[in-house]
């Protein structure tokens, strides 16, 4: 995939996608509930969420395979909500690749151009260019069944970009590959998207995939967009417990907020009381959330507060030691860097858990 940029596909032509108030139900099952999203031109954007959250439904709605009960979808400022799939010019790569088994690779890739009545010579040129772009020029006369999973995936991508779509939709394109191929192909996809400058939407349930290749992510659950942001924003500043939990490991301590003499405290369930820093917003019913690496064990490192805890178990992970520690009624994970000669805390041992309040969050569901 190291061919030079084709002259026809340039980021300058990239369009935005605007999803406004989209609602969709299947019978009594409310699948999408008032979705609003704006995907910027040339952006690599992910819909991330657990299965059944509505992410694939939303993607298929952009392609025209599902129809919204309300709201509209604008591609490059044009409302496409009422267009049939074949008039939309949004290329989709299917999860199963959907390569037609009765056609060769070349004929699969040529299909969309033939439907557009592109002259033969131009078709040949563009098919060759698309296949070169994904590094499969030499396999053009094979049948899809003669290709490996990774190659099939690239043919599916080539078939879609050959029509030079306004937007590229990827429906879990890595889910049918083995773990090693997945890492390689996602880099290639990112690389390709960057060179084409094509607005791309990527559906996945795998946060690592989304984090590594996307510019921004919309985290979805239960038919609702929970939060939109860059991978770092979502990790550092999740706005609710779902997002905190879905991206990386989150420790959650239940408790309640107390006010005494103008100061706020967080009373951890079955444990101790912490001061809440003055500038922090604490929503109703919030819980204390922190990442495993934002706490330390023992008093030899400076910290804002110390919580009494009991070691439950320990796991040696190489670079770090991960402890399960009971604090009040909850059990949390705490990572400490491993250095040669460090002794393990034994289960049952009492420890002081140091917590940096700057990195702690108070989030509600």
């Amino acid at each position: 995939m190291n061919q030079p940029l084709p002259a026809t596909a340039l980021g300058a032509n990239a369009v935005d996608v605007d999803i406004r108030n989209v609602d969709l139900s299947y019978g009594t099952n409310h699948v999408l509930k008032g979705i609003n999203l704006h995907i910027r031109p040339g952006e690599f954007f992910a819909f991330l969420g657990p299965s059944g959250c509505g992410k694939t439904t939303l993607l298929r709605l952009i392609a025209g395979f599902n129809h919204a009960d309300g709201g509209e979808v604008l591609v490059g400022g044009q409302d496409v909500s009422r267009l049939p799939p074949w008039k939309r010019d949004v290329g989709m790569v299917f999860q199963s690749y959907a390569l037609w088994p009765h056609m060769t690779v070349r004929r699969n890739v040529a299909f969309g151009l033939e439907e557009r009545k592109v002259p033969r010579a131009e078709i040949d040129r563009r098919v060759a260019a698309a296949l070169e772009l994904v590094g499969l020029g030499h396999l053009a006369d094979r049948r899809p069944s003669q290709l490996s999973g990774g190659q099939q995936q690239r043919v599916a991508v080539a078939r879609t970009i050959a029509i030079e779509p306004k937007v590229l939709l990827l429906d879990e394109p890595l889910s049918n590959l083995d773990a090693k191929m997945r890492v390689q192909v996602r880099r290639e996809l990112r690389d390709l998207q960057q060179r084409l400058g094509l607005t791309t939407i990527f559906v996945t349930h795998d946060q690592e995939e989304a984090n590594t290749i996307c510019d921004r992510i919309a985290v979805m659950n239960d038919g609702i967009v929970q939060q939109v942001g860059t991978p770092m924003e979502l990790y550092e500043k999740p706005t609710n417990l779902f997002v905190a939990n879905f991206l990386g490991t989150a420790n959650i301590l239940p408790g309640r907020v107390l006010r005494e003499a103008g100061e706020r405290f967080f009373d951890i369930e079955g444990g101790v009381r912490l001061p809440i820093p003055a500038h922090v917003m604490v929503p109703e019913g919030a819980k204390l959330v922190f990442r495993p690496q934002h706490a330390s064990l023992g008093r030899d490192r400076p910290s804002d507060v110390w919580l009494p805890g009991t070691i439950v178990h320990s796991e040696f992970l190489g670079a770090t030691l991960r402890y399960g520690v009971r604090i009040g009624t909850a059990e949390v994970s705490i990572d400490t860097p491993f250095q040669t000669g460090d002794a393990l805390h034994q289960p049952g041992a009492s420890v002081d858990v140091g917590l940096s309040l700057r990195s702690a969050l108070w989030l509600a569901a």
């Binding site: 049939p84 010019d89 009765h102 557009r116 069944s145 999973g149 078939r159 083995d178």
Partner: protein
């Protein structure tokens, strides 16, 4: 794909494990294999080999010769018969396609009320052999049949539905179109929705989409069904004979052997031609299917998207479906009317109704029903025993040459019934019992011929049943101390029961109405099965009533069996999914 790799990996150790422990076959397995081989050689390979041998030997001297084939090519009657058979088979495929295409397309592509009923009714013709319906079709569509009488009254013209080859084509198409319907519907249902959506996404729609994506993907299924229809029509003997069409190949083979004699080489030459045509059609079908496993349905996905029909489309679809269903059910309706009719001639409907025919059938002709039960049960039993044994030897042992058993048993598919019948006559007529009766005259020969004819189908059922049982279930039993034999008895057979039963019922039901092989082998009325009795009755005008009554009984018998096998399969599948 991730799932597939893990499954593959999980499977690999058990396969090598099996290889390690099962490289040598036990004496019991060898004995079993030899027994099956002897049976197949004796009752399939030798009779068919004899037919081919006789076709290539000079009468009298016994030397190799092609002169018989030259005679065949020089005789106008045979050449005409060949082209008539070819034309009738090809046209039957065309007419059957006209019935099957709309039904398959409408029920798989649209939200269509009654789709289930159509798919079920579509099977109905298969449970009645075509020659049974032929007489009923004559009464309904013949020159002075119901339809033409009405046409003549109202419009003053008649349509020659049943004249000569037209009759054969019409009757065969009505009876065999389900093969195309079933295969084509399955092919259409196996196309994943994403195949179509990908085309729409790239700008394709409407008829272009159908022509470029849907139709090519369903093509292998269509060819499979069409080639089956072609072979069935080409090999059928009884329908042309009943419709008094004699210049077709299969009837010629029969007539040569029965009227001129068993020594006349022409019957054998025609048999070789029939075998060649069968193999050719199967080869074409296999070529069409090769490398084209187009079943693209993904896990969780469900075939093509069905869409709602507009009101006028819906009206059109219902009208088309109704006409087709009326046509294909006509033989059944006609047969039922005929079985209750006093006199039915030159009138749209019978003159009066009576139960006398049933009385006669249950009285003097009940021997046919009894014989059929005995023959079909024995044939079915032989089939599932052989089928289970072959499936076990092929799938679970490493016996050298075990695939040959499978190939030999499956090769029976290519042998037309009339050819097998001729082969049995020739091979076993010379062999005599101590009291002087030739072996070929024994009723057990009918049973063996039926068993060989139905074996390929029963074998597939047993194969499928065994394939679904994970090897680890057997290994677990062996691990806990069960010997191979005890493992088979306590684990394998109980788990295969559903499949074996289904195989038995299918063999039984189809053997019960099989005629082409038995027509040759029945020596006396007392030994005759139902299909033979039907054939005899239907040949005379006076016998039509009782014949129809016997036909209705046969249809009911087969319908009951088919329904039972359906229930068994469903139940065993339910039990299996509950177990998971």
């Amino acid at each position: 794909m991730a799932g597939a790799t893990t499954a593959g990996r999980a499977h690999a150790p058990s396969a090598s494990h099996r290889q390690f422990f099962r490289t040598s076959a036990t004496p019991g397995q060898i004995a079993l294999a030899l027994g099956i081989a002897a049976f197949l050689v004796l009752f399939l390979v030798i009779p068919v080999g004899t037919v081919i041998y006789v076709a290539f030997t000079e009468k009298g001297t016994g030397g190799f010769t092609l002169v018989n084939f030259l005679d065949f090519a020089r005789t106008d009657l045979f050449i005409r018969s060949f082209w008539n058979s070819f034309y009738a088979s090809a046209m039957s495929v065309v007419v059957a396609s006209i019935f099957a295409l709309p039904l398959a397309y409408i029920t798989t592509r649209f939200e269509f009320r009654g789709a289930m009923i159509i798919q079920t009714l579509g099977f109905l013709p298969l449970i009645m052999p075509p020659f049974v319906g032929a007489v009923a079709m004559l009464l309904l569509f013949g020159r002075n049949g119901t339809v033409n009488l009405f046409l003549d009254d109202w419009f003053g013209f008649k349509i020659p539905f049943m004249e000569g080859l037209n009759g054969v084509i019409f009757v065969q198409a009505v009876h065999y179109f389900p093969f195309i319907l079933i295969n084509l519907s399955a092919a259409l249902r196996n196309i994943d929705r994403s195949m179509e959506e990908a085309a729409q996404n790239l700008g394709s729609s409407g008829f272009r989409l159908f022509r470029r994506i849907v139709f090519p993907l369903a093509m292998p299924g269509y060819i499979a069904g069409a080639s089956l229809v072609f072979v069935k029509v080409f090999d059928d003997l009884a329908t042309p004979l009943l419709l008094n069409v004699k210049d077709m190949l299969a009837p010629q083979a029969y007539l040569r052997v029965t009227s001129i004699g068993i020594a006349d080489p022409m019957g054998y030459v025609i048999s070789v031609v029939l075998i060649c045509m069968s193999i050719l059609a199967m080869w074409i079908s296999a070529r069409a299917m090769r490398g084209k496993d187009y079943a693209t349905v993904q896990r969780g996905g469900g075939g093509l998207a069905k869409r709602q029909m507009r009101p006028w489309e819906s009206a059109l679809a219902y009208a088309a479906v109704l006409i087709i269903l009326l046509l294909v059910l006509a033989p059944h309706i006609g047969l039922l009317l005929l079985s209750f009719a006093t006199i039915w001639s030159f009138s749209p409907l019978p003159d009066g109704f009576t139960l006398a025919h049933y009385g006669r059938v249950f009285g003097e002709s009940f021997i046919y029903v009894k014989n059929t039960f005995i023959y079909a049960s024995l044939a079915g039993l032989i089939d599932v025993v052989l089928g289970t044994a072959i499936a076990y030897l092929v799938l679970r042992t490493r016996l050298v040459g075990r695939e040959w058993l499978d190939w030999a048993a499956t090769a029976a598919l290519a042998i037309p019934g009339v050819v097998l019948g001729i082969g049995y006559l020739r091979t076993f007529y010379g062999v005599q019992l101590p009291d002087g009766t030739p072996l070929a005259a024994l009723w057990i020969m009918i049973v063996l011929a039926l068993a060989i004819r139905r074996l390929p189908y029963a074998l597939r059922a047993c194969y499928a049943a065994l394939q679904q049982i994970s090897v680890s279930l057997e290994e677990a039993a062996e691990n806990l101390g069960a010997t191979k034999t005890r493992t088979i008895r306590r684990i394998v057979l109980p788990l295969m029961t559903g499949g074996i039963l289904a195989g038995f019922v299918t063999s039984f039901a189809t053997a019960a109405v099989e005629l082409s092989a038995t027509l040759m082998l029945v020596q006396s009325n007392a030994d005759a099965p139902l299909a033979y009795g039907l054939y005899v009755f239907m040949q005379s005008a006076a016998g039509r009533g009782p014949g129809a009554a016997l036909g209705v009984i046969a249809v009911l018998l087969v319908a009951l069996c088919t329904f039972a096998s359906h229930l068994i399969i469903e139940k065993s599948q339910k039990a299996k999914t509950a177990g998971h």
